[in-house]
Symmetry: C2
Subunit: 113 residues, 2 copies
């Protein structure tokens, strides 16, 4: 376990130092340091989390809720700081997904044997 | 990117060499090398995948399907080889989840700032 954990921590460090994560951190701090941007972003995030939780619990999401969520996305996408933050989040998610694929390759190979 | 990938590949290697993964591989091969165990396991896995896909697509899962799935789980749990395989799968999943938590800590910390 401990050797594996050392490798995971080395990877954690490399992610922290990566261009992608550094850019996300800068974009996040920029939004958080502006009260009106922060409020808009928090509101957007809360709506996202609420819909995700409903979906995970198998609860019905109404057309009205979908319309409302779409409108909020449209508004935040026009906000330069939040739009940039969302782009940087996507970049880091892509990085993490690529790394996950490398890490879980032994499992993928096992089940394809 | 390339330095990060090297760290991810080192971690992949450590997972492959881990006790947990080696035990899973042995349990998997044992089931796959016995035709009747293999058939039972494949049947069980197909039912699981079908239900997961329905759930992900937001389709209704009938009470009958839940009952049927429960019965199949009960039967496979009494099969020593498959029961052992399921235990080893859980152990590897736990290991991967622990490693994921280490790796994604920078993100967790960022959003808690
Ligand atoms: Ca293979
Ligand atoms: Ca913090």
């Amino acid at each position: 376990m401990s050797e594996i954990n050392n490798h995971a921590e080395a990877l954690q460090h490399a992610i922290r130092e990566s261009e992608e994560f550094q850019a996300l951190q800068a974009a996040y701090n920029k939004v958080m340091n502006d009260p009106s941007s922060k409020e808009m972003f928090d509101n957007f995030r809360n709506i996202q989390i609420e819909l995700q939780q409903k979906q995970m619990q198998g609860m019905e999401i109404t057309e009205e809720e979908i319309e409302q969520a779409k409108k909020v996305v449209e508004v935040v996408q026009q906000h330069e700081g939040i739009s940039d933050l969302m782009t940087q989040e996507q970049n880091v998610n892509n990085l993490i997904n690529e790394l996950s694929q490398i890490i879980t390759k032994p499992l993928e190979e096992l089940y394809q044997m």
